[in-house]
Point group: C2
Chain length 369, copies 2
């Protein structure tokens, strides 16, 4: 992953002699560790990766995934792997790999403060550089390998989104439906869910980050399913809303309004457009409707090795879209106590505008109860 | 969760005016946020919780899980919930909730360095206290609610471990088996897996943290399955090893040796015993066998709201076991290129010794191919 490392250093300028990614215990792993080290297996808790301006990488691996690390290094001549056992040995080896007064860049965004203090303690004379912004901006624009993996993860999500209507029946609980969806993602080749699946029935759909409960489906409820697949460490993130007939006529109109808002946002997507414009296009549609003010989150975020991969689209973000960005577009309307609708797709920014990564139907669908 | 907060402050001494838990974007959430705030739903990305020595708690919630937060606060009179939108508003509200020169404790262990700098920037005169050790030690000893949740998570893991032999067939891949296991956990009531399921066939079983691949099962392979359920935010963590007939006679003897090592470790478990003694008991059995040196990790760790919940059992840890600790006991033998066996159970430390949380059979089992 020499090119990726070089791109990060180019963004850091002449500011760093080395760039170090440090994993704490799961879930506090630095997803960028896996951006510079393409290894299909392993957690690499407590491990570190030292990248240099020439694109070379030294991975300090634990014994728990040593064989996978060595195999990956055999496929990439710019990677060396060394075995360490524990944090003390890691810090000691780092002091041998770098000079005591180096300018060392760290990814503050995914580094625990505890690990920062541990590393800083081993280099009392070093100068510390926050690599978060350079890493974030590099990761925002996907390369061909990444796009292929994102497409695969999105295909799995789309396939399951198409199957959800056939899973709906009176009495199935939110937790059960989430389990069925995750099972179908696994059968389609996912290595897991990319985040905790959201399934909200009826009023629960009004809470964007609702966690599924042992709560049964009943006729008349609308349903929000927000989920995604993990495939070769890359994610998808898709939301579909369904309506378990007989319809609540208001939620049908809400669905149509959200669809209109999503299309308005999509219509803004092209290189050079400020992120906030994409958000505002959706917000304008909703705020000109009877549901003004009921869209309470940003319209999207970039995806990649993480579900929130560094770039956000909300009213405060001036950063422009670039070719190769993969982002979600996901407006919603949430009526407290009643229900909600959110429609979310993953798209890739292209020279002409965008293309869909997720492909499942988005329109209003009433599933007979 | 007033008692939990008071127990943490008792361990901090008179050292802090407030204790603040801060979540970054998922997966960089502080699991201790959910230790002091018992809320069944929601991610709470970018949120914070301010705990005070009297046990009271102010939760700064995002709109994405506001209703769940308010419902949880209605059930606990010591909790107040306030809405914030974004990090700037969070930091501003924190400066109103605390004095500018307070001694503020933070959980460095699960706080990103980026969030540390953001909070520290808002309090230029504050004194910072690392709460990691006090939080860790408090969380190590489980209360009744936690034990009930751990038991439920362990029951789900045990139920699925009993079903695995019926799932084994020639050609099923590691990824497929992992998917089937996770589906059965979901059907048994889990809200997800507690960590990336490990399934290793044949030589892959020799790598403790192996990630399942599209690799098919063949007769003669041994199988390591290390997995766990998430239930009400609590985890289980169980490993079983199976042998897909005709046996490799060496791996049968390895299995029996690992079982003996696990029993030797379990025999050490009682309050007051140093963690390292539990490890060493297992290591002694293995190192007196033909597989000397092939047990390359610590014998266990505590579990709770996280899979690695703060306490480790390895040769360097002098800390004693205490009544109410929930720990794994998981020796293994790993023969590179050939296969491995690990047996892992979750136990609760009791006054008299221990009791099992996980209950599936551990003995050598050859499943006909």
């Amino acid at each position: 992953m020499k090119d990726r490392i070089r791109r990060i250093f180019a963004k850091l300028g002449a500011d760093a002699d080395a760039l170090v990614f440090v994993n704490a215990a799961s879930p506090h792993l630095d997803s960028s560790f896996f951006y510079v080290f393409d290894v299909p297996s392993g957690l690499f808790e407590g491990c570190a990766a030292v990248a240099r301006p020439d694109g070379s990488l030294t991975v300090l691996t634990s014994p728990l995934e040593e064989e996978s690390a060595r195999q990956a290094a055999r496929r990439d001549k710019d990677v060396e792997v060394e075995l360490i056992r524990g944090r003390d040995e890691r810090e000691k080896r780092l002091t041998q790999l770098m000079e005591s007064n180096d300018r060392i860049a760290l990814n503050y965004h995914e580094l625990t403060h505890e690990d920062y203090l541990s590393i800083a303690g081993a280099f009392p004379e070093a100068t510390w550089v926050d690599a978060s912004s350079a890493v974030r901006k590099t990761r925002m624009v996907k390369d061909a390998i990444e796009i292929e993996r994102l497409r695969r993860a999105a295909d799995i999500g789309s396939e399951v989104a198409r199957e959800i209507p056939s899973l709906l029946r009176t009495g199935i609980t939110e937790l059960q439906l989430a389990g069925e969806m995750e099972y179908r993602m696994a059968r389609a080749g996912a290595s897991g869910r990319s985040f905790e699946t959201i399934v909200g029935f009826g009023p629960h759909g009004a809470e964007p980050h609702f966690s599924p409960q042992p709560f049964p489906l009943a006729a008349g409820q609308s349903i929000v399913c927000d989920f995604g697949a993990l495939s070769q460490r890359y994610v998808s993130d898709i939301t579909r809303s369904y309506h378990f007939g007989p319809t609540d006529p208001e939620l049908k109109r809400v669905h149509e309004k959200v669809e209109e808002a999503q299309q308005a946002a999509l219509d803004q997507v092209r290189p050079g457009v400020a992120a906030k414009e994409v958000h505002l296009a959706a917000a304008r549609v909703i705020d000109a409707s009877p549901w003004k003010g009921l869209f309470n989150h940003g319209v999207g975020h970039s995806i990649g090795l993480a579900v929130h991969d560094g770039f956000a689209m909300n009213p405060r973000v001036e950063e422009p879209l670039e070719v190769g960005m993969a982002v979600t577009v996901e407006p919603g309307i949430y009526i407290a106590g009643r229900g909600g609708v959110r429609i979310e797709d993953d798209i890739l920014v292209t020279e002409k505008g965008y293309e869909f990564l997720t492909t499942a139907p988005r329109g209003y669908l009433e599933v007979p109860a």
